[in-house]
Subunit: 231 residues, 2 copies
DNA sequence: GCTTTAATTAACCTGATGGATAATTGCTGT
DNA sequence: ACAGCAATTATCCATCAGGTTAATTAAAGC
């Protein structure tokens, strides 16, 4: 597609005239690269395709992001940044222990359900043994403050004897992420093998409730329920 | 069954003379392709590399498996077959409910820990939206009988009032798989971001216990005590 | 207006890779 | 011992895709 033919007076930006806007162009590349990487993986994603979809030349991609891997890292940074931002809107501190745990579970589940591209991206990065995360200072310092929130919820819950004292924030976070991510990431093999729907709204609602239940039953104090001898 | 076993030994096999053994060659290709696919993904795996490692010509790969995708399907079939085989050695029926659940949890966790290539392969297949599983009759009929085992454990547990009546076998299986797979598949991003070890023997032991705990606390009846106290 | 700089484009290069063609060679039954 | 066939090899090829070289052009400053 050739650009630069019709020249509109441009109250708004005409789509076919290349506006020289560094930041906007970079952002567009990033967003489309995000989608392409999530869809096709690090190797499968294609610079020509990204350029075509962004309406720019391939060269421009390498101009702003020096290599495919650098672009991938930038995409990861953006994707993780969005999650982090979403997590900031969670305010668990004000809630009672059970409500806080359930809200945390449902929020995490919802986020992954709503952002399957992000889940795919994380899976892809894990296939590559997280070598891009390892290479990015930004991504490592981006260690999510969600752990802090969880710790506070647990502390409060333990104080109130609603939550078992042994429960660890990291472990809880891992468990919750495992359940939430799995229901998006491994949906396909599961559905194909068990003919078990994981994608319909009803199925999702069921899983959402299930995960909250698993989590709460895991953390809640035994005193509030059956007596039990621990290992 | 081919008459391959009637081959005369021809002395000792010189390493550089290709032994004409259809089944053996196919099996070798499969095993090496399994490793290469698990390591590098569907696109990343390289036919030349597989051939080189197997000590054969690339052409031979396409002779036995008509395309790369077919080879990948064959690899999936082999890998899932192995898991299924392992699952057969589980005998949960004889155990008491809690013991059965814990054994199931630990077995599943161990299997994934011991077969990270399998876990990677499943992740890769999910990135491809399980289109190869969908294409293979074999893989779909290979629906694992583990579900049956779980159902029997749950039925017995419910009978004894040790397990809640609402617990579903599929959901339980999904939960367990989520936790087990996650601790292998998403280990890398997790470790990189949280500087949290998931790979050392101690960490694995901790996770193993954790998962059994999560599972049991999820299924156990609210009324009954864990010591199978019938009222 | 002219210069300078930075954003953008067009065209090219090159290594890799899946797959194809065709020749060859070892096994097995007769 | 030899034909026939199946297993295996050596080579070639077209295409794709990441990255590069060099020219072009929009905008900001003087």
């Amino acid at each position: 597609m050739t650009a630069a033919s019709t020249r509109k007076p441009a109250g708004d930006q005409p789509a076919n005239v290349r506006r020289r806007d560094r930041e906007k162009t970079k952002a567009e590349i990033l967003q489309i690269a995000f989608e392409e990487f999530a869809e096709n993986g690090l190797l499968g994603a294609n610079a020509d395709a990204i350029a075509a979809r962004a309406g720019i030349t391939k060269r421009l991609i390498f101009y702003y992001f020096s290599s495919k891997e650098e672009l991938f890292i930038a995409v990861l940074e953006m994707a993780y940044g969005r999650m982090r931002q979403a997590e900031e809107s969670l305010h668990l501190e004000t809630l009672a222990p059970e409500a806080a745990i359930r809200r945390l579970a449902e929020f995490t589940f919802d986020f992954h359900q709503d952002n399957p591209e992000f889940v795919r991206l994380v899976a892809i990065e894990n296939i590559h043994r997280a070598r891009h995360v390892a290479r990015s200072e930004t991504l490592q310092q981006m260690t999510r403050p969600i752990i802090g929130q969880i710790e506070r919820v647990l502390a409060k819950g333990k104080d109130l004897r609603a939550i078992r004292p042994e429960v660890d924030a990291h472990a809880l976070h891992a468990t919750l992420n495992a359940l939430s991510i799995f229901s998006v990431a491994n949906r396909h093999t599961f559905e194909a093998q068990f003919r078990w729907d994981m994608s319909s709204p009803e199925a999702k609602a069921r899983q959402r409730a299930e995960i909250a239940e698993v989590l709460w039953r895991y953390v809640r104090s035994d005193a509030a329920s059956p007596a039990e001898d621990e290992d």
